[in-house]
């Protein structure tokens, strides 16, 4: 069994991924509903791994649910909560259960989440985790022992095109490629010109880049993100568009903006696809796709 996501990436088509967040608790109803809603509309679905360091149902549990419902999961794996033994073990489990895509992340810092007194593990970093995936693929583990049955993954990573300063970010991007990342999902991008500049640079590498599209649900949220979230810049004209939208139509405006950005990226072949993050509003992802003409 190969990765259908990898096939989509290799096909040259404009690839669309989205993501779902597992619940805080054991009630899987909403997550399963989102899986049903999106699994046939996108090429793959990420499952977040205790996003923002908030303890939740595990990423691998969400990925298994996607598999059970006939979808294609991307296992998000952060280095925050597990040491190298635990990370490798989970990759073995994921492989045996048909999960073929993994997104290797450092992980948010513990103090930003809801278990502020917990120990941040960070035994590996994202570059080392990418290497670990490839060591397991070679039939060995990180300790040098032979595996009885290896793994095979389509491994990816993230990059922040709006980071300031940008050069250290780009150096790390290249290290991730050298470590074996074949696809990248970017942090949210809104300034299409700036992103196109990043892509001009990124095109020299043999990797697929999916632009991160985060739904702007209000002018307030847009302002909050641009002021508080590292590596996110929302241009003023987008914030104005949202604040000028009539009451009750702000979300529709956010959907329109997301759809417009996706259509622009696709029309001008700026990147290889998009990764849509609706952050709690997964219900409207089909509307974003419709607005983008997909």
């Amino acid at each position: 069994m190969t990765s259908s996501f990898k096939e989509a990436l290799d096909s040259g088509k404009f690839v669309v991924t989205s993501e779902i967040a597992p619940p805080k608790g054991t009630n899987l109803e909403t997550m399963l509903h989102h899986i049903e809603l999106l699994k046939d509309r996108v090429d793959a679905l990420n499952v977040t791994d205790h996003q923002s360091s908030v303890m939740r149902f595990p990423s691998i549990g969400g990925c298994l649910a996607i598999k059970e419902h006939g979808g294609e999961p991307i296992l998000q794996m952060t280095c925050r909560d597990r040491n190298r033994m635990s990370l490798q073990a989970e990759l073995l489990l994921a492989y045996t259960r048909g999960i073929r895509n993994v997104l290797c992340l450092t992980g948010d810092a513990v103090p930003v989440g809801d278990h502020k007194e917990a120990k941040g593990v960070f035994d590996l970093d994202s570059v080392q985790l990418l290497k670990a995936v490839h060591i397991l693929e070679s039939g060995q583990d990180m300790g040098g022992s032979e595996l009885d049955g290896a793994v095979e993954f389509c491994a990816g990573a993230i990059v922040t095109p709006e980071a300031n300063p940008i050069e250290p970010q780009l150096i790390k991007f290249e290290k991730k490629i050298e470590a074996g990342a074949v696809f990248f999902q970017t942090q949210a991008v809104y300034d299409m010109d700036n992103f196109a500049k990043f892509m001009q640079y990124a095109r020299q590498f043999p990797v697929k880049i999916l632009a991160g599209i985060v739904l702007l649900s209000s002018a307030r949220m847009a302002r909050y993100m641009t002021e508080n979230v590292p590596g996110i810049f929302v241009p003023q004209n987008l914030i104005d568009e949202l604040s000028d939208a009539p009451k009750g139509e702000v979300l529709a405006k956010g959907i329109e903006i997301a759809g417009r950005m996706i259509a622009t990226l696709k029309r001008n072949s700026i990147c290889d696809g998009v990764h849509i993050m609706a952050i709690g509003r997964e219900e409207v992802v089909p509307d974003i796709l419709a607005a983008a003409g997909l």
Binding site: P111, V127, P168
Partner: protein, 214 residues
């Protein structure tokens, strides 16, 4: 190099001392004096506060270097006052508390929490620069240790939380990798940032770490 301490909340000290009514207090003339947590002034202040609570303080001593083996001698000199106490309250870092505990056959209670081994940038301004990991890489990171200075201890470059030169965890703190980047760039050694650093060897000197020079 200094062992950086801060005094425990007084309520916690009280809790730790409950059941002990006769105390001997030990301070330290080195690090805890510089951090103003266990010098003569703080020891006397502690003595008075405890006396107000009805505790009897049989004596006190500020040992020149509490973590040093000479501590044994200072304690001997105070043998009688220590004999009168049923507990020793130590206003030194944990190294000092441990050292005192080796020579006294009664409960030893720390009054301080030991935070880190650090340097003093200016009087009263302390900073952690080394985590004593046993595998120094600062020759390749412009003298800045990313294991210590980066909140996540990342050795292969900045995370996505780097924010205009600051860390997302605390906007007052510099992003270690921005600092490293700027210095390496200045030195014309940016290629070092491209070097892959393998996972850390946590058993380079397994805990508890020891060293004997033969």
């Amino acid at each position: 190099m200094k062992s950086i301490t801060k005094q425990k909340p007084f309520e916690e000290i009280q809790e730790l001392l409950s059941g002990f009514d006769r105390l001997f207090i030990v301070g330290c003339g080195t690090c805890a004096t510089m951090t103003r947590t266990g010098g003569t002034e703080q020891v006397i202040e502690m003595k008075e506060r405890l006396q107000e609570l009805g505790k009897r303080v049989s004596g006190y001593a500020v040992i020149p270097i509490a973590c040093d083996e000479m501590t044994k001698e200072t304690l001997k000199e105070n043998n009688r006052a220590i004999g009168d106490a049923n507990c020793i309250l130590v206003m030194a870092c944990a190294l000092g508390v441990h050292r005192v505990s080796l020579y006294i056959d009664r409960p030893v209670i720390p009054a301080l929490d030991t935070l880190f081994i650090g340097v003093e940038d200016s009087p009263g301004d302390f900073r952690e620069v080394c985590a004593q990991c046993g595998q120094c890489i600062i020759g390749e990171t412009a003298g800045i240790c990313p294991i210590t200075t980066c909140h996540k201890g990342l050795v292969n470059g900045p995370c996505g939380g780097t924010n205009n030169g600051k860390c997302e965890v605390d906007p007052e703190k510099d992003c270690a990798w921005t600092l490293i980047y700027e210095r390496l760039k200045e030195q014309g050694r940016l290629d070092l940032m491209r070097k892959y650093h393998p996972p850390h060897n946590f058993q380079v000197s397994p805990r508890p770490k020891t060293l004997k020079i033969s």
